[in-house]
């Protein structure tokens, strides 16, 4: 597959925007897709995690505990930082590319506590399908998920 990256000018603009609103949305997306496995991410609980979408210049910060993912404000040295282009994150999320392969070719970068990175990678790899699909993020599915959460409470 041809590699796609956003033009550099986009990253320049996005960098000027605050990171909390996208981090908030991202934490909600994580809850929607991975909320059921927060328990098995125990070594990551309370850690500051950064996702850097390199070509968009977008930084997302969050933490996780036994129940949910929570957005946090930017931190100077996250415990774990993962960066790649939007396309490569998509390929990883849909299980079309192998993380080690992307790592060898420098398309995926992991900074910080390597063991935390491995826990995240291996826990995600061990997840049984349904795979993540973009359809899960369709407004009606997101609303349905939020409704089910509200109803539970």
């Amino acid at each position: 597959m041809e590699q796609f990256t956003f033009p550099k000018s986009i990253a320049g603009v996005v960098l000027l925007l605050p990171s909390f609103p996208p981090s908030w949305v991202f934490a909600k997306v994580l809850d929607l897709t991975l909320g059921r496995i927060t328990g098995s991410l125990a070594p990551l609980h309370g850690k500051h995690i950064a996702i850097h979408v390199r070509d968009l210049g977008l930084y997302l910060y969050f933490t996780v505990d036994a129940g949910k993912f929570t957005p946090i404000h930017s931190v100077s040295v996250p415990d774990l930082s993962v960066s790649a282009t939007l396309q490569d994150f998509y390929l990883l999320a849909t299980r079309k590319e192998d993380p080690d392969t992307l790592f060898f070719s420098r398309r995926l970068m992991v900074d910080g506590d390597t063991e935390l990175g491995l826990v995240a990678k291996n826990t995600l790899d061990a997840l049984e399908l349904p795979k993540f699909t973009p359809a899960m993020l369709a407004p009606k599915n997101v609303m349905a998920h939020m409704r089910s959460h509200l109803f539970k409470r």
Binding site: S40, P43, R95, K96, E97, D98, P99, D100, T101, F103, F104, S105, R106, M109, V110, D111, G112, T114, E115, G117, L118, V119, A120, K121, N122, T123, D125, A126, L127, E128, L129
Partner: protein, 333 residues
């Protein structure tokens, strides 16, 4: 004439990917340090191993369980219990390196098939036959140090089935005898189940490039255009007499697609793919290529040729992104 394709799995999705894409056997490990891929979050607990066996058996495939680290005196129970759990899960064979564990397994579960792990480091038929006579070992995985001519010679003098590595990351190939990481971390594959314990590994982007460190020791520094490798001591670049280079070995991946006809001809029983630490995508892609290659060689050994598309796919996945025939190809004697 048959040649089993033995594929790795570190999780249930990886096992299913292997089975669905043409593996004859899938090898797995339990969580913890009873096997040589003891990484956090990787591997199978007992219920997952049971599910793995059910999935594979329902499709006529086998599950092998690697129990290939060396039991430690203080925690012998852990290894013994792993043998018990393997028997309980109903795996088709366990892959062992330690003679004490072999004795326990063959006495306690005489029906359980035993394979000799590459970590057993048996490179000659006398050693392999010893394990066969004393513990009923039925298959041996050969360390990656023998030339194909030596393998052929060995095969003539043993009743034990022989399994060869076909694809995957290479190391310094003193399997079962490597203490290199102990030098820096106090842990080695034999005792702790990993070359580079993840807790001792740090990756850091610096002005000079991407640095990998093991317990503080600089292993390598990659320029922006360079491929990275696994952070192991054997694959680092070090300064020796004023020159910085791969002082032990250059990262490379074994790829023996072109040797399949020779392996069939000499009576190799199985080809093993390395990589239990890799993702289900890797397992799926590698298994598919090797299934196609073995099927092609079985259909017509005389006219077998390596499809360039197979090589392209495997090279993309390989560590170091270069491949070699390793010791198998060694014209000199």
């Amino acid at each position: 004439m048959s040649l089993e394709l033995v594929c790795p799995a570190g999780s249930l999705p990886a096992l299913k990917a292997a089975v669905d894409n043409g593996a004859d056997c899938v090898y797995i490990g339990f969580r913890g340090n009873t096997n040589a891929r003891a990484f956090a979050g990787l591997n199978f607990d007992l219920p997952a191993a049971g599910e793995a066996v059910r999935y594979a058996h329902a499709r006529g495939k086998k599950v092998l369980l690697a129990l290939n680290t060396y039991p430690q005196a203080a925690t012998w129970q852990r290894w013994q219990q792993a043998v018990d759990h393997a028997a309980e899960a109903g795996v088709d064979a366990i892959i062992l390196a330690d003679a004490g564990l072999m004795r326990y397994a063959c006495r306690t579960y005489p029906e359980l098939r035993l394979h000799l792990s590459v970590q057993g480091s048996a490179t000659n038929y006398e050693a392999i036959n010893f394990y066969h006579e004393h513990f009923g070992i039925q298959r041996a995985v050969l360390p990656r140090v023998l030339s194909l001519t030596q393998v052929e010679q060995l095969l003539k003098h043993t009743p034990v089935e022989i399994e060869l590595f076909g694809f995957g990351g290479l190391c310094v190939m003193v399997e079962g005898r490597c203490m290199l990481s102990s030098y820096v971390t106090g842990e080695s594959p034999n005792t702790a189940g990993v070359c580079s314990p993840a807790k001792a590994v740090r990756w850091q982007q610096t002005r000079q490039g991407l640095e990998s460190r093991l317990n503080g020791v600089l292993l390598d520094r990659y320029a922006a255009s360079e491929n990275a490798g696994y952070p192991t001591l054997c694959k680092g670049r070090f300064e020796v007499s004023g020159e910085t280079y791969y002082a032990i070995e250059e990262p490379a991946s074994l790829n023996t697609l072109e040797l399949i006809p020779s392996m069939l001809h000499m009576g190799i029983s199985a080809i093993k793919i390395e990589g239990r630490q890799r993702s289900p995508v890797y397992v799926e892609q590698v298994t598919r290529v090797w299934r196609a290659a073995i099927d092609s060689a079985m259909r017509n050994t005389e006219n077998y040729a390596v499809d360039p598309a197979w090589m392209m796919q495997l090279n993309k996945l390989a560590e170091g992104q270069q491949n070699t025939l390793g010791a198998y190809h060694r014209p000199w004697k």
